[in-house]
Symmetry: C2
Subunit: 402 residues, 2 copies
């Protein structure tokens, strides 16, 4: 059996994701499609609207054969660590290829870009450092650094976050996992950040935005497979919410103001005196949105701040993050769900794996899993007590088997 | 001008408290009645039902001339530290006497008890230690130790928490503040712990219990001065709640489970492996009451556990508590409110005071005030954002002047 991997968040799983899975399967000629998915918190530093289990079920019903969880410490990180965590785990799972969506749809553009960057790495790094020191936020500093090294104008557009991620995947594969072939398929319309739904293929951002005010409206339902609609509905019936940052604001507020500046400074992402700004700002802000608007500066991007706030909520220290992120090998691969194909693939692959396969977190004693538990506890904190207990119990049970 | 002190919680200020103030004024012959009152959290380890400001206003309208705040670190402590904080501050305020309520109403009984205890202190201490080591909770161990040293059967009843407190006050005065005369007045009916209201003089416990289910019922209103009824009504209109432990349970749950065992162990009151029991128990408990019931053992009294939970909520470490509690002198006296009499007394007394008089916390830089701020933040965390901001703003404003 051959497997191919996709790196995903499924927040929520929509028609575009289903198309991506179908096309990736066709392109890779794989028997088994493995999705590695962020858990409770996502790359942009946001809570997922529904828990990993409801997203996993939708993914399995939409074409994934095996769903793994990308540990939170990789999931809530910039593209380099995010890709590292995801690509390395998929490589350990023995995939032949990893297939990502791009506007371009041509893998050679990414390979060329990676080669150009590799051969200009020292100049790029220096330029990046200079721009960061001048107070530019990372995306802008990075764009300027690309310009400085004369990155070809007709190459891939590196102002697009999805292209930066794609390039990051390719770099991981070409540098560390030459056995894994990078593949890309062309995205059908809809930018990652599009805010309105205008077809059956809509961005997750636009879908979430519509859901926030309109619930499971006709437009939302048109953009989602019916299994996702069922999962979203079920989660809300069960817990009464779809998670958003505003739910967490009372906890975040309480946490930031009951920590000392010294404690805040130890948290992953709290640098350059941000602790004072956090405490000063949170006192006056009546909502998460108000808080973020008051917090944001040119230097701190929205995404970077949100990631830091996730780390504060969970209480992840710089020391913990450093230790876990510097490991060159994934600590384990955690299975969230599978169908028969996924199960057969796992059976075949298990004996060749160099890292433990975890189907229930209590099977392994590792600091990464302790942190995962805290991430889950933080994520479910906003639920009523009964749902909270029920959802935390779910964390220790067997994967979903379809 | 002469002043007398009372040591209070006013949760809420009721007819019995008003009677206590009147009688104390008469007995002490004082011009100015100074009440030192617990702030957001109380001696039994509970949040006050309404904030200190609404309780202060009711106290001023009910006969107090000057209201001071007993810092949280003393307020949420067993009788020795509680008395130490309160008596020392009142002594610094220059009171001639401190008058407390007792069933007995005869100060000589307390003085005799103190003398008997002083002369048997080493045997008492040893007996107490033995019983504690045998696993008895403090109140029971203490009762057995009194028995062991042959404490007279016809002396004051030391199984009554209020008598233990009274004795503690007397001991503080006789040992460290000989200039301050201990006085007691007889309580009119109603035990401290009575759970039902059966007259105009009812216990605060019974009043809170009735309020919880019946709101400001006729019976509640009969047991309270009308100014207290107004203050309770206003607080609820403003913030929508009367505080109780259940409001804090989501925060406590989140806090306990996102701290490591090592961090929990550093918290004031978390001893003898309690950290493991806390984490294990909180996971399964759907409410504060369920949590407490599962947590309680013979060794840990309800009160001791609740105090520890307050320290966890606020994040007070053993080190902070030790430093502050070992200070032999109060760090400051904080004024919450006063009438003209109180103001005149302050004017007269100010120049003779050895400790800073604080009318707004920003006037002084002291670790005690940092901790007070965290206590307030924790207390107000359960309010909606607008009330939370408004109430925290109040903390930095001038005292109530009636």
């Amino acid at each position: 059996m051959h497997a191919s991997g996709v790196i995903v968040e499924y927040n929520p799983f929509h028609n575009g994701h289903q198309y991506h899975l179908q096309q990736s399967k066709r392109k890779s000629n794989a028997d088994c499609m493995i999705a590695i998915m962020s858990g409770p918190f996502l790359q942009r530093g946001e809570p997922a609207i529904v828990d990993k289990w409801h997203r996993t079920r939708a993914a399995l019903q939409g074409g994934a054969d095996l769903v793994l969880e990308l540990p939170y410490i990789y999931a809530v990180e910039h593209s380099d660590y995010f890709s590292q965590g995801a690509v390395r785990t998929l490589a350990e799972m023995g995939v032949d290829s990893i297939c990502f969506g791009s506007e371009d749809g041509n893998i050679q553009s990414f390979i060329d870009a990676d080669q150009y960057l590799s051969s200009h790495q020292p100049i790029y790094d220096q330029a990046l450092r200079t721009f960061l020191n001048e107070g530019y936020a990372f995306p802008e500093a990075s764009r300027l650094a690309f310009q400085q090294i004369g990155f070809p104008q007709d190459g891939i557009d590196l102002s697009q976050p999805n292209n930066i991620l794609g390039l990051s995947y390719v770099k991981q594969m070409l540098t560390y996992h030459k056995r894994v072939e990078p593949l890309t398929i062309q995205r059908t319309s809809s930018n990652y950040h599009d805010e309105t739904i205008d077809s059956r293929i809509a961005s997750a951002t636009s879908i979430r935005k519509e859901m926030k005010t309109e619930g499971l409206s006709l437009r939302v339902k048109e953009a989602l497979p019916s299994s996702t609609v069922d999962q979203l509905r079920e989660y809300k019936t069960r817990t009464s919410i779809w998670h958003g940052w505003e739910h967490y604001y009372p906890f975040l507020h309480y946490k930031i103001l009951t920590m000392t500046c010294e404690e805040l400074r130890e948290i992953h992402g709290v640098d350059e005196g941000l602790e004072h700004r956090l405490q000063r700002t949170v006192k006056r802000a009546a909502s998460f949105e108000e808080f973020m608007k008051a917090l944001k500066t040119k230097r701190y991007t929205w995404t970077r701040l949100q990631r830091t706030l996730v780390h504060i909520l969970i209480g992840t220290t710089k020391q913990q993050a450093r230790q876990l992120l510097l490991d060159t090998k994934p600590a384990y691969a955690r299975v969230l769900g599978m169908n028969t194909t996924g199960r057969n693939y796992l059976k075949q692959q298990k004996k060749d794996m160099d890292i433990p396969l975890v189907t229930q977190p209590q099977q392994l004693d590792h600091p990464m899993l302790d942190l995962e538990e805290r991430a889950s506890i933080s994520y479910y904190s906003v639920l009523n007590a009964d749902s909270r207990i029920e959802r935390m119990d779910r964390e220790y049970k067997a994967p979903i088997i379809l």
